[in-house]
C-alpha cells in the first residue's frame, strides 16, 4: 500500500486522476491423485458423481482424513513464494448453504493458515518489476459443480470436484493496474507450474481468481472495495478490473458512494454486475473443525521439502542472464515455461547462448505459435536445432539457408548435417565460383554498375542478384567483399 504512485498507471477522471488498488485471492487446485480428506480421485472429466466417496457426499458418520501429499504441496508452494511456513495450522468450518456443498460447510483454514507472509517479484512489459506481498496461503476443500442449463426448473449437481484440495493464495492490495494484475497472475501460474503444485489449467478451472478492486485519489486512504468473483482467464481479469474501476469512478464522480459487494464479470457484455447485496452478506460462523486435529510438523519436514524444490523462474532467469549473456527480456520469455527453459538450455549448452536464444524465441516459438502447438510437441528437437546452429557457426551454411534447413527438419525430420549434404545446401565459399557469378551479373548490368559508383547503396541489389544466382548458398561475406572491389565501392 505504500508503493509510490506511478502517474502512468492512473486512470483519467473528469476532474482529476484516479488510482486503482487491486488485491487478489487466487484459488489453485492442488496437484494430487486423491482429494484433500478422502480417497476419491481428483481426475478431471469423470462421469457424474463417479469420483465421490461418502466423505465427499457428507454422509452421516463419515470422517475426514488429511492427504499428506496435499500438505506437502502447500508447503512447497509456500517455499516458492518465499513465505513463512507455519509449523502449526488449524482447520475450520466455514458455514454456508448451497446445493453443491453437501456438508453445509467448507473445511478451510481461517485464523491459523499453513503459510503466512511471502512475496512474488513480477516483471512488467516495460522492463520494470514490482514486488507483490503475499498475505497468506491456506488449504481448503473445493465445492461440487451445479449445472443450471439442463432443465428449466431444476439444477443438476455433480460432486466430483467436491473435496478436491485448493490452495487459496491471498495477495496484499499491492497491485495498481490491470496490467500488474495480469502479470501477477501470470507469474504466480508460472511459479506453481514450476513447483508442480498446480497445473495452472485455467480452462479446467484449476486456477481461478477473486479480484478486489477499489479506487481512490492518489495519496488518499483506500476506497470501498468490490470483490469480483471467479474470474477464470488472465484476459478477463484485465477486462474486469478496467470495467469495474471505471464503474466506481463514474459513481463517485456523480456524487455517489460505493457499496461493498460481490460482483460477477460478464465477458459477453464486458461489465460487472452485482451478485449478492450487502444485506445478505454471508456470515460464515467459522469455528475449528472438531473432526480434525491441528496440522503440525517440524522444520526438518520443511527442510526436506525445500531440498527437493526445482530451480524457480527468478533464479533461472538470473542464471540465463549471467551465464548465457541474455537480455532480461529474452530470459523472461524463455523461463515462462519450465519446458521452454529446459529446451533452451539443451540447445545453448556448449554453444553461443545468444544465437541459441534467437533461434528458440524467433524461429522455434514463432513456428510453434503458428501451428498452435506447445513446446512439448515440437517436431524439431533441441539436439536438431543445436546442430543447425553448429552448421552456421562452422560456416557450412548461411543464416538464410539455415532457415530453409529448419523448415525441412520441421516437416521431414532427419539429421541436419545429413540433410545439408544430401540436398547440396552447403555454402559456397569457393571464391572462384562466386567470382564467376559476380562477373556474369556485372557483365549483364552495365547501367547499374555505372549508377552504383554514384549510389553505393545499390550494392544491396548486386548482393541479392548474386545470392539468387548461387541459390542462396554463396557466403555473404565473400560476396560483399568481391562486389565492393569489382564495383569500386569503398
Amino acid at each position: 500500500m505504500t508503493a509510490p504512485v506511478n502517474p502512468k498507471k492512473l486512470i483519467k477522471g473528469a476532474e482529476h486522476d484516479w488510482e486503482v488498488v487491486i488485491g487478489m485471492e487466487i484459488h489453485a487446485q492442488v496437484t494430487s491423485r486423491s482429494k484433500l480428506f478422502s480417497g476419491a480421485s481428483t481426475e478431471f472429466g469423470a462421469e457424474p458423481n463417479d469420483h465421490v466417496s461418502l466423505v465427499d457426499a457428507a454422509m452421516p458418520g463419515m470422517l475426514p482424513v488429511i492427504n499428506e501429499e496435499c500438505v506437502a504441496q502447500a508447503v512447497r508452494t509456500g517455499l516458492g513464494l518465499k513465505a513463512r511456513i507455519n509449523h502449526r495450522s488449524v482447520f475450520d468450518r466455514k458455514n454456508y448453504f448451497y446445493p453443491d456443498l453437501p456438508q453445509g460447510y467448507q473445511i478451510s483454514q481461517y485464523k491459523d493458515p499453513i503459510v503466512g507472509e511471502g512475496e512474488v517479484v513480477v516483471d512488467l512489459l516495460d522492463g520494470e518489476s514490482i514486488t507483490v506481498g503475499i498475505e497468506r496461503l491456506h488449504l481448503e476443500q473445493d465445492a461440487g459443480k451445479s449445472l443450471h442449463d439442463q432443465n428449466p426448473t431444476q439444477s443438476f449437481v455433480d460432486l466430483n470436484r467436491s473435496g478436491v484440495a485448493l490452495m487459496e493464495i491471498v495477495s496484499q492490495p499491492d497491485l495498481r493496474s490491470s496490467e500488474e494484475a495480469r502479470a501477477y497472475m501470470t507469474k504466480l501460474r508460472t511459479i506453481l507450474r514450476y513447483l508442480g503444485t498446480c497445473d495452472g489449467d485455467m480452462e479446467k478451472g484449476s486456477l481461478r481468481a477473486d479480484v478486489n478492486v477499489s479506487v481512490r485519489r492518489p495519496g488518499q486512504p483506500l476506497g470501498t472495495r468490490c470483490e469480483i468473483k471467479n474470474v477464470n482467464s488472465i484476459r478477463f481479469i484485465g477486462q474486469a478490473i478496467e470495467s469495474e474501476a471505471r464503474r466506481q469512478i463514474a459513481i463517485i464522480e456523480d456524487g455517489g458512494t460505493i457499496s461493498q459487494e460481490t460482483r460477477l464479470y460478464d465477458p459477453a457484455k464486458g461489465e460487472t454486475r452485482s451478485m449478492r447485496s450487502k444485506e445478505e452478506a454471508h456470515d460464515y460462523r467459522y469455528f475449528p473443525d472438531p473432526d480434525l486435529l491441528p496440522l503440525e510438523f517440524d522444520q526438518a519436514y520443511v527442510d526436506a521439502l525445500a531440498e527437493g524444490l526445482p530451480e524457480l523462474p527468478d533464479a533461472k532467469k538470473a542464471r540465463f542472464v549471467a551465464d548465457f549473456g541474455l537480455s532480461a527480456y529474452d530470459a523472461n520469455v524463455l523461463v515462462a515455461e519450465r519446458a521452454s527453459a529446459d529446451y533452451y538450455e539443451a540447445v545453448a549448452r556448449g554453444r553461443d547462448g545468444k544465437a541459441a536464444a534467437n533461434w528458440v524465441i524467433n524461429e522455434l516459438f514463432g513456428r510453434l505459435n503458428k501451428e498452435g502447438i506447445g513446446i512439448d510437441a515440437t517436431p524439431v528437437s533441441a539436439d536438431q536445432l543445436g546442430r543447425i546452429i553448429d552448421l552456421i557457426g562452422e560456416g557450412v551454411i548461411s543464416g538464410k539457408i539455415a532457415k530453409d534447413l529448419f523448415e525441412i527438419v520441421w516437416t521431414e525430420g532427419g539429421d541436419p548435417r545429413a540433410v545439408v549434404e544430401a540436398r547440396g545446401m552447403k555454402q559456397v565459399t569457393d571464391t572462384g565460383a562466386i567470382e564467376a557469378a559476380v562477373d556474369d551479373i556485372i557483365a549483364k548490368n552495365h547501367d547499374k554498375v555505372q549508377q552504383a559508383k554514384e549510389k553505393p547503396t545499390l550494392l544491396g541489389w548486386f548482393v541479392g542478384q548474386t545470392m539468387k544466382a548461387t541459390g542462396g548458398k554463396a557466403n555473404p561475406a565473400a560476396v560483399n567483399a568481391l562486389l565492393k572491389s569489382k564495383l569500386g565501392i569503398e
Binding site: 491423485r33 486423491s34 465421490v52 443450471h148 460477477l264 496440522l295
Partner: protein, 95 residues
C-alpha cells in the same frame, strides 16, 4: 451474553430453519438459558492455558495420496429425492 429477537431470526435464517413468528420469543428464552449455562465457564481463569485439542496428545493422522474410493455414484445418489444420470436434482438455483 444474550440474544435479542432479531438475532434469533437471523440465526434461524442462516441455519435455514423456518421459525414461525410465535416461536421466536420462546426460542429466545431457550437460547438465552443455554448461553447463561455455558457462561459459567467464564468464571475459570484460563490465562496462559493452551487450548486442548485432544484428550491424549497425538498427531493428526494422515493418508497417503492414493485413490482408494469412488466409482459408486449409485450409492452416492441413493438417498436423493430426485436424480438423473447419477446427478442430484435440486430446485433451480441461479446466482
Amino acid at each position: 451474553m444474550s440474544v435479542d429477537e432479531k438475532t434469533v431470526r437471523r440465526i434461524a435464517h442462516l441455519a435455514r430453519i423456518a421459525v414461525a413468528e410465535d416461536e421466536v420469543a420462546p426460542l429466545q428464552g431457550e437460547l438465552n438459558a443455554i448461553l447463561a449455562f455455558v457462561e459459567q465457564l467464564g468464571a475459570v481463569d484460563v490465562t496462559g492455558v493452551e487450548a486442548m485439542t485432544s484428550v491424549t496428545p497425538m498427531a493428526m493422522k494422515k493418508r497417503k495420496d492414493v485413490v482408494t474410493d469412488g466409482g459408486r455414484a449409485v450409492d452416492v445418489v441413493a438417498n436423493a429425492p430426485e436424480t438423473e444420470d447419477h446427478y442430484f436434482l435440486v430446485p433451480k438455483v441461479v446466482e
